[in-house]
Subunit: 461 residues, 3 copies
């Protein structure tokens, strides 16, 4: 099935080895243990009363592992819904995530982690690298089934880089709050991916249409991804907030937003179906929109009440998007969005950014007390004004959209070069192109001995 | 397949939206951040030596996430064992859990979390809400495959409410210990569900009997649920015990109980089979009974030795229950218990309550030292006597059984009203009634082109 | 299918019950709560300023749960890749792990946890017991599909015992460092298992060859195992290092090693395939070798740079091992290694031991500062010399190899006795021998009504 034009025999090994060698060299030159991972630094002037539990590890490592599960199991299995693309979904997710987290460590470190020419790494940089990887995996969802692993790696190189630039502009220049990444991760990843898939538009994709759908068991595998994303989203949004109340509050707000989102997802999934039947696509995806939509405001005084309203709205627009907007995007705008990332990450991400701007603009010392500056860092420097803060949040959304669309455009054209072994229109959504695929179950094989219509015809003639 | 009588087109959206709107209004009126999630409270008089690691978040959030996994992945996938009910098992589990945790926050808060008219929420209330949700999901197991999602939501409304009342009586009035919920969660959920399924008895359920069994891969999906429940049960039982030694001890006792339970489960599963073959139903369920059975005594000085004895017994009675008692319950008492919750939660829950009463009655300051009052709170008020404590534990079991059976009876009759779109006897255990179900794998589809006996007949005539 | 010679009707129950009774008696006689789980000890002289967060539970329980997931989900599902052996893979993994962790508690406690004749248990002993269990499960991978559950339990009895002896020699006598168990767990488990499978060599295994391969969905189930092992390996390697910087550093080094390993695995998997197609066997296994290979040096100043080099090498040799060495081992050395544990645990384990020896030999107070003695405990007693330390590490590897090969040899001959109900050559890799196996999916069953070639022939004649 794989002719020389799609063979990964040389392309993939070459790219992987070259990239990893570059990574290793750059890590050797630039990366150092941070204070909490360095034996010399951490134990400087150690006395019997030195408190190891103050090590950042104990504040953040459980959250890191939850985020890690979301990246590798959550995203990976969520995309296994396609009937013949499970190996690629989990496998390529695995490959590009493993690459992206290394590259992100360097790019993010370069932009906001340099100390005397060195990048300091620890559990926080690990979480941030996983976050950046999340954006790449969101974009992967748009082009799922239509790209070679080499294309995906090249996409990751550019997307990670631009992610770090955008993140630097938002967090360091505009001073935006975005702990759970409604803007930096979800909006960015979604619109970047949508633009890439637009540029890579395939007019004849219908030749693979019969494979662009689920089967019974592939939908169950996908639910593994969904449920893990749903459960651990509170950890995702709270993973890099300040210690204490902000981390605690963010996790709780996210928990309530997701619960409300699940109810609106089920409600609207049944409502938009003529027979009132639930659609697995909605349940697998829209139920997660509540996590995306509180990614910015979750650490603020959104309250469980506000979180539930936001979650309910997010689930609603996400289901409606799958039902009514996705077909239009494909037919009118030529955006072929395999996983519907516009509905899960795009619109809910923008909603999250707007909610964040409004919630930030409504902040006051009366409500936050002495905790105000632990959410809005600029309070300490005296530069905090709620209205202008809300404005900067809004500007951040605009910058993110611009960066994502522009970056996706350029990257899309780079990915269009006919050198990456992309699948032909007839073999999209098909593992067999890039994987050794085993036969079906024994039971099936036995069935292959059954007469086919042709044989029957022959016999009966 | 879904005619108007079972259509969820209006019923489900209406109920979901009304419920969520009510929840949002009540949350807006009643729910507030607790001390550890509120920026003002947590940072009051903050100094440089304020210790964020004392925030409840760091003591309990990892346990919370483990419990969360048990509720959504554990219960959800455990019930996917049925051949054509995987979407409903994971999906309805998801829906009713998302609803129940919100409703439980209000009900439990109302009964034991009010502060000046407000319900305070934080990680502990999140764990408690998940616990209450667990009871609903246990009951779900009894009626699995025979109820519409609307019926399940209505059941959850009543069960959560009554759970909170029962929990209040046990913990606040009777002063019972029940950290892991042998009584409040497992006994309550099991007997409530058994009574509901008794009232909903279907004499003609045999019309769906061919779907009331597993297939090879559905049993593997179910094992995902089993293993996660098994692994994280130590976190479940210890999640709301006191900090320090009780949390540590409870986790360890549960770990040993489950290990011993697994061996007795395998032993008796082989023993009761004429050919000595293991039965997946036993492994999937009975191996978990050890966690249920130390839910009350786990925080006490049960010791690993005692835990292992209890676990071994729990696995044994659970397997024997599946083999010999379940058929009798169905034929004589008309209790159709799809998942066998009586064997996994009912009997082991009662065993756990009895073990708890005995272990509490044997407690002494000599053994517990100054830790006594951290297990038995009433020591501080001087009202502690081991024998009477044991008595109150026993009374708590009786109260729980009474509340569960009575509540299940009433709820069962409410669920019997012909307005919820329940599945007909011919379409139980069938996803197709409430879900858009995709075809089988490509391999299968190809096989559909194979001649059917009819065609063969036609051709050969 | 199960004739009397393979029936588990009496053998398995008898063995399980006898073992568990012995375990319970020994636990009753020997096991006690340790300081952090005992109410009396932990609360001795308790004051209002007693800090519960210093309880070992909070340092290690999240890591313990990650390790626990690796043992039960990771190993269990990794081995479900076989088409008709999923029940046995997850189920026997479950059984022998539940037994091994209890037996390991006693054996490890006996060798290095005795306090006045009693074995003290807490979260650290739980982690160590899970570690020891890991070694047994590695060996299980070599004999997968060719052994009865009774044989596996007998193997576990001997392997756990010898593991504890070897661990005692390495850690207590030779003073070796091996936090993540490159030697004690991976090298030991691998070579023990390889020797067992050598002794149990089946010349006629080709009679079951058609079942010794994967199918599409079984490979996806196996990926669940792979991904969980991969994600939580940082927790595995860091679980029992010192608090603070060593735990933090070990987790991070492992994270980078695994990321680099994944890229080399994909690279070489495509490179060694004539069509450039990726092989699931490589992705499922070789991508994990990076975790094995930093099991000894991970806590030292290996740096992310060094970790990535080691990980890259580990992935490379592992893929090459699967491709070129495994067939030779089978044809020339008669080692039938079902899961290829030599490639995942054997060679990477040795690599890890060598890297550990070299890294230890390069240690200096200049680099580690006051943290030196928290990695190399012997610094405190003044007996530390980097070169001799490196030597002791190398000796430890040799001892481990000797113990594993000798122990595997003896255990192999014990397992060869014809009393355990081992599967005949014609029924290896087959769940049906020891499990009640349900039919295929409904869809399939319906297809059974399709005419078979025989019927067609009859009709058309």
């Amino acid at each position: 099935m794989a002719d020389s034009s799609t063979s990964m025999r040389l392309r993939l090994p070459l790219l992987c080895i070259i990239l990893e060698v570059i990574l290793i060299i750059l890590f050797g030159a630039l990366v150092e243990y941070d204070h909490d991972t360095h034996p010399k630094e951490w134990n400087k002037n150690r006395t019997s009363s030195t408190n190891d539990y103050k090590n950042e590890f104990y504040y953040r490592y459980p959250s890191f592992q939850d985020v890690h599960v979301m990246i590798f199991v959550g995203f990976g299995f969520l995309m296994t819904f396609l009937q013949r693309y499970g190996f690629s979904s989990v496998g390529f997710n695995f490959l590009i995530a493993a690459f992206s987290l290394q590259w992100a460590t360097l790019m993010q470190g370069f932009f906001h982690g340099m100390h005397e020419g060195k990048i300091h790494v620890g559990v926080e940089s690990m979480i941030n690298a996983d976050f950046c990887t999340g954006a790449v995996l969101i974009s992967f969802g748009a082009v799922l089934g239509k790209t070679s692993p080499v294309q995906l790696l090249v996409m990751a190189i550019f997307e990670v880089t631009l992610f770090a630039v955008n993140e630097f502009i938002l967090l360091s220049i505009l001073g935006a709050n975005d702990a759970g990444g409604s803007m930096t991760i979800h909006t960015f990843g979604a619109y970047f991916g949508l633009m890439v898939t637009r540029v890579l538009y395939r007019p004849n994709l219908n030749k693979s249409q019969h494979r662009n759908s689920s089967v019974y068991h592939s939908d169950l595998f996908a639910m593994i991804g969904t449920i893990y994303l749903w459960m651990f989203w509170p950890s995702f949004n709270s993973a890099i907030t300040h210690h204490g109340d902000p981390q605690h509050r963010t996790a709780m707000n996210t928990y309530y937003s997701l619960a409300a989102c699940t109810l609106s997802t089920f409600a609207f999934s049944a409502l938009v179906n003529p027979e009132g039947k639930l659609d697995m696509v909605h349940i697998q995806n829209a139920a997660l929109a509540g996590g995306v939509a509180v990614g910015t405001a979750g650490e603020m005084m959104l309250t469980p009440f506000g979180s539930m309203i936001v979650g309910f709205l997010a689930g609603t627009i996400s289901v409606l998007g799958y039902k009514y907007l996705t077909p239009v995007l494909e037919s009118k705008l030529k955006i072929q969005d395999t996983c519907g990332i516009h509905n899960l990450h795009g619109m809910p991400g923008i909603l999250g950014a707007v909610v964040g701007a409004v919630t930030a603009a409504l902040a006051s010392p009366e409500v936050y007390g002495e905790g105000l500056q632990r959410v809005f860092g600029e309070v300490e420097t005296g530069q905090w004004k709620p209205e202008s803060k809300g404005g900067f949040q809004a500007i951040s959304l605009a910058v993110t959209l611009g960066m994502a669309l522009f970056g996706g455009l350029v990257t899309g054209f780079i990915l269009k070069l006919p050198i990456y072994g992309a699948p032909p229109d007839t073999h999209c959504f098909e593992d067999g192109l890039y994987w050794e695929v085993p036969g079906e179950e024994e039971g099936h094989n036995e069935l292959h001995e059954v007469a086919t219509p042709n044989e029957v015809e022959k016999l009966s003639s």
